[in-house]
């Protein structure tokens, strides 16, 4: 009964001082909104990264052909260098015990025709192992087999977007397409991976053809641009990379003084570095949000202090008509919590809206999770409690006689 009477009193007091109340609410609101937005950005980045890891495959080494070039950090563009050969792949599989699978790849943008429809897309010559290494199965039909590759069959597996744009509702499996005039039979359609984050490499917009067939009939080259290497589960990625590098240097006849004519990207390391960067970014923004909340808390503190100074008469009167110290303290703590709660809700709305706007306007996949909401509201209440207790104590300790005399 008393608590309820006290509460309705607090809300009335806040409603009487609208401007001040609005100020205090917007202070914490800003802090909470900042917290929500920042956590949303961080969480979005984390989720993006996880999808990327899944799409990429985590135990993947990427061996790139590279011209042996003394300039630091310069790798020449793919296709111009011919240091990697299909035979390197066989050697890696045979001589590197840490390697589970490997697949060579050569790709280029080419014109593809189905009937009278034409499109330009990336054509990739690779081995059937590509499916397992890249975790990229077919949605319809199948991949080519190693035997079909060996015998130089003209078979094609379409990315989902190529299939959609070229066939427009017709089932592509069994149909004939022409890649640079060479006829191929479509035997499968890949599952959709969705737009990749690495700009310019849409993996749904490609056509896979058997390695030998592709190199001979389409590209007319004897080298490859990439070798995907899948490391055995439990093997150390670095050690596997060293095995591959040592073997390739030996095969390419490089002596000690010569630099590598290839580069090896450790996908896990790249992703981990990205993830660490995202995590430290998140820590930074969380700290910033904490500061914003703190500022909001100080706002509540100073506004409560001001309010109590101005309401000394009222406090003195309340004590005279029977308020106990604890009633006064409760009243002002409730007022502070009310400010914090209202600020928290306002901030939640503003923050969620802002996060959504950021998602629309930028490439950041912001995500507002239940945890973030609980954290933000909890933080707002905690901050208002912490910063509300001091003014409430002050109010409760006022001398009623002096307070009544104050004008």
């Amino acid at each position: 009964m008393r608590v309820r009477r006290n509460f309705s009193l607090s809300t009335k007091a806040l409603l009487r001082h609208r401007v001040r109340t609005a100020l205090a609410i917007s202070g914490t609101g800003l802090g909470v909104a900042a917290l929500i937005v920042m956590v949303a950005i961080g969480e979005g980045a984390e989720r993006e990264l996880m999808t990327e890891v899944e799409a990429m495959g985590s135990n993947l080494l990427l061996v790139r052909a590279e011209r042996a070039e003394p300039l630091i950090g310069r790798s020449s563009s793919a296709g111009l260098v011919n240091t990697l050969k299909p035979a390197d792949v066989e050697a890696i599989l045979e001589d590197c015990p840490a390697v589970e699978r490997a697949a060579a790849s050569f790709d280029r943008n080419l014109q593809v025709k189905y009937g009278i429809l034409t499109t330009r897309t990336s054509v990739r010559a690779t081995a059937s192992q590509y499916e397992l290494i890249r975790n990229f199965p077919t949605r319809r039909g199948r991949y080519f087999t190693p035997e079909e590759d060996q015998s130089g069959q003209r078979l094609a597996v379409l990315g989902s977007r190529v299939a959609a744009s070229l066939f427009q509702g017709v089932d592509p499996v069994g149909q004939r397409i022409r890649i640079e005039r060479v006829p191929f039979e479509v035997i499968g359609v890949l599952e959709s991976k969705g737009a990749s984050l690495n700009a310019g490499s849409d993996e749904d917009n490609q056509i896979l053809v058997p390695l030998r067939t592709g190199l001979r009939r389409v590209f007319n080259v004897d080298h490859v641009t990439l070798i995907y290497v899948q490391v055995r589960a439990g093997e150390d990625m670095e050690a596997a990379a060293t095995q591959v590098a040592t073997l390739l240097r030996e095969r390419h006849g490089l002596d000690r003084s010569e630099p590598d004519d290839f580069g090896i990207d450790n996908q896990l390391l790249v992703l981990q570095a990205e993830r660490d960067a995202a995590a430290s970014f998140q820590r930074l923004i969380t700290a910033l949000a904490a500061v914003a909340l703190l500022v909001g808390g100080v706002g509540i503190l100073s506004i409560m202090m001001l309010s109590i100074r101005e309401r000394r008469n009222e406090i003195g009167l309340r004590i005279a008509v029977g308020a106990k110290r604890r009633d006064i303290r409760t009243q002002f703590v409730v007022e502070a919590l009310f400010l914090g709660g209202a600020g928290g809700l306002t901030g939640l709305l503003v923050g969620t809206a802002t996060a959504a706007a950021i998602r629309r306007a930028t490439e950041w996949q912001t995500a507002v999770s239940g945890d973030a909401i609980a954290l933000a509201l909890g933080a707002a209440l905690a901050v208002s409690l912490i910063f509300g207790v001091l003014p409430a104590q002050r109010a409760a300790a006022l001398d009623p006689i002096e307070s009544l005399r104050a004008e």
Partner: protein
Amino acid sequence: MIELTGVSKTYEKGSTVVRALDDVSLRIDRGSFVAIVGPSGSGKSTMMNIVGLLDRPDAGRYDLDGSDVGALSSDELAEARNERIGFVFQSFHLLANTTALENVELPLVYSNRPDISGLGLSALERVGLEDRAQHTPGELSGGQQQRVAIARALVNDPDLILADEPTGNLDGASGLEILGIFQELNRLGKTIVLITHDVEVAAMADRRVNIVDGRVVSDEITRGD
């Protein structure tokens, strides 16, 4: 019912010591109407704060309704103020932007009574302001504001009403109206202790206690009925 025995209160301001109350002994019976008069700074308000349980004496003893209030905790004093004492101040002390009714109901917020419905309105009726229940102090005249304050003092039906210069901020006519209410309340059995500078106001009481420099210098019955 009120019994002060050798009550003293001193204030120290730097090196000067002010004896606001100096060994005051006074007895006020239930149902009486007492005016406390005296020059400015003589200790009238100090005495009212002690009688009203807002302050404690440095020395001496105060019995209210036969029990020593010196033994009560500050929470118990708060409860006693809430249930047994009504205050009326010179400057009304109404909450701004708050309706007359809500102002009157303020003491009920701190009351332990289970049923408080209707008490505020009936207190307003007793001062003839039930039709102004939803008005805020800014919309009321000084006299009306003081009547709201009296209703607030009455809402918990206390036996004792303490009024410190209740007519000090009012014109003559409004002041008389307020005094009329006090007389009426006294007739209904309330004990009224009224502090005033004004000889005419003091004349409305049954008894006049004169305080100078913290001491009771005269105590006379002005009306014997």
